[in-house]
């Protein structure tokens, strides 16, 4: 490492500290809220640090008693998992061939810009046509329907990300496989996709997060426990006459757990994906 003056060191560490505070503060506050008692949260002046730890809300939300808030919340978690998982798998299925095709055929790269252009449209402008379309197909308030809508968001995003990933894999390797006698599907399965694994993992994770965090379409296209996702469920917690901020915070913590777990599992692949030009675009 190069030599650095004391002032510069203090500045660098100070900046890092500020940065981590900015990132972590809301998360920490969310967690503290979820374990504070209602009295602490409504006290004036506010008790930043809870006087007693109250874990009852976790029990309330993770409950299988029928017609309870817990049952509704768990159902929404399950819906979110299915919708996001389905949409992510679908997006990868669509994006892998199209990203590969665009990466290997510079002549048709303009088409990708077309796709990205549709991505620029604000979601609200598509809400009505999508609603009518889903209604026509009888897919309103279904997991499949919402997953289909998310697919339209995830597929362009995934294609773009994967294309930059495929770009980094030398074409000569595929030429070599072709001369060696591999069919296109064999080349993809044995050579290209294993090499693209880190980018695939990164793309899958980001696509999943995008679907998991989506709120607007989920609010419009779902009505009850059969399809309502966790973002909408959390909003519902705030909908009553008396809002229990602690309960909302608990919902937030629980909703964050699945993506965090998936992220941890795929951590190594994702990090190498991020560093090998996976997200250049």
């Amino acid at each position: 490492m190069e030599r650095r003056s004391l002032a510069a060191s203090i500045f660098v560490y100070g900046a890092a500290l500020v940065m981590s505070l900015v990132i972590l503060a809301p998360v920490v506050w969310l967690f503290l809220m979820s374990i504070s008692s209602s009295a602490d949260l409504s006290a004036r002046p506010l008790h930043w640090w809870p006087q007693e730890i109250d874990l009852s809300r976790y029990g309330e939300l993770v409950s299988l008693v029928s017609n309870s808030a817990g049952e509704a919340f768990l159902a929404s978690l399950r819906n979110s998992l299915f919708v996001s998982g389905l949409a992510t798998c679908g997006a990868l299925l669509v994006a892998i061939p199209s990203a590969w095709a665009v990466s290997r055929t510079p002549r048709v790269q303009w088409s990708l810009y077309g796709v990205i252009a549709t991505y620029m449209l604000p979601p609200v402008s598509l809400a009505v046509p999508l609603y009518m379309g889903l209604a026509h197909l009888g897919l309103l308030n279904t997991i499949t329907g919402l997953a289909l809508v998310y697919l339209t968001i995830l597929a362009p995003f995934a294609t773009w990300l994967l294309k930059t990933g495929f770009d980094t894999i030398p074409q000569e390797i595929e030429s070599a496989a072709m001369i060696d006698g591999a069919r296109l599907d064999q080349t993809m399965r044995l050579v290209t996709l294993p090499l693209a694994a880190p980018v695939l993992a990164t793309t899958a994770l980001f696509a999943f997060l995008l679907a998991w965090d989506e709120f607007f379409y989920a609010l419009l296209f779902t009505a009850d426990q059969r399809a309502k996702t966790v973002t909408v469920a959390i909003a519902d917690l705030a909908g009553g006459r008396v809002s229990d901020y602690g309960l909302i915070a608990t919902g937030g913590i629980l909703a964050a757990l699945p993506p965090v777990l998936i992220g941890l599992i795929m951590q190594r692949a994702v990090i190498s994906g991020l560093t090998t030009g996976g997200v250049k675009g």
Binding site: E172, S175, A176, M178, D180, G181, V191, L195
Partner: protein, 362 residues
Amino acid sequence: MSTLEIDAVTKRFGALETLKGVDITLESGEFLVLLGPSGCGKSTLLNIIAGLLEPSGGDIRIDGRSMRKVHPKNRDIAMVFQSYALYPNLSVARNIGFGLEMRKVPKAEREVAIRKAAEILQIEPLLERKPAELSGGQRQRVAIGRALVRDPKVFLFDEPLSNLDAKLRTEMRTELKRLHQKLKATIVYVTHDQVEAMTLATRIAVMREGQVEQIGTPREIYDNPASIYVAGFMGSPPMNLVEGRISDDGTRFQAEGGGCDFPTPANAIGGLTPGRTVIAGFRPEQLFPTPPAEAKAVTMEVEVVEATGAETLVIGHIGEQTIIASVKPDQAPEPGETVRLNFAPGNIRWFDPESGRALPNE
């Protein structure tokens, strides 16, 4: 029947004509080097032979069979790429055996072939490793091994040594030569390195702007370059090219600006007519210092003296023109000196300065 026929092959990329009609015929066991600077179309030609590109016109025939619209895997060729193009996720053994695996060769048979190739290339201890764990030279061997197991009609090499350092490059060059002598394989090899071309080839095709400028054995190309372009490309240092004029009586060549004056050769060269401007080409190693008492052909003012070990390069000018002489180290002059040089006139090549072509022997 020839193993490989390149018949009037052309290639256009939009308005750009990369290959302007190439004809080469290759017999079995020949080692053809396509030599030229980058952008001359040599790699394009190799890719067309491999089937990675379709020619715009003309045809490739392997063993008499037209390769038009034939997929690379059905051409019975193997290719070694400049970047090695190994499969990083597969072991060395699987890399080598990949072509056989794709062709559904039984596992036992495959393993025998892999062992044999590994033995020839001395990479047996590396078979279980991944390409990332190998050095550049080892990766190169694996890439060659992958081509070897297939036992194809034609081997294609695309600048395979250019990613290696100088010492390894020389070693692998010898190795390739040995391999060719042993296997009697038919090889097309692309390079921009004229030393590689000279040492490896049984025939060299010097390419320029999408055309074959000259094709012949390394000796022919070195001794009798067909044009100024070939003369300047082959040999390091390259051939000296001195512009001058044939004297009015037609008996002497006199360099532009003086410093070089010698009788024209006795054997007739077409076009050495009195008063004509020509370019005389001679190799640096043909020049030797001559004592003051004897006749001199060249008077050179020395500027730089470069010792390279076995020989010393003397760089200087005659009149306005720069030339290089290669002399024995004990004969080397000092910079600033004026030296008298002579050579055997029979070894001089004559070029037409306008067309750049060599004047024909009559």
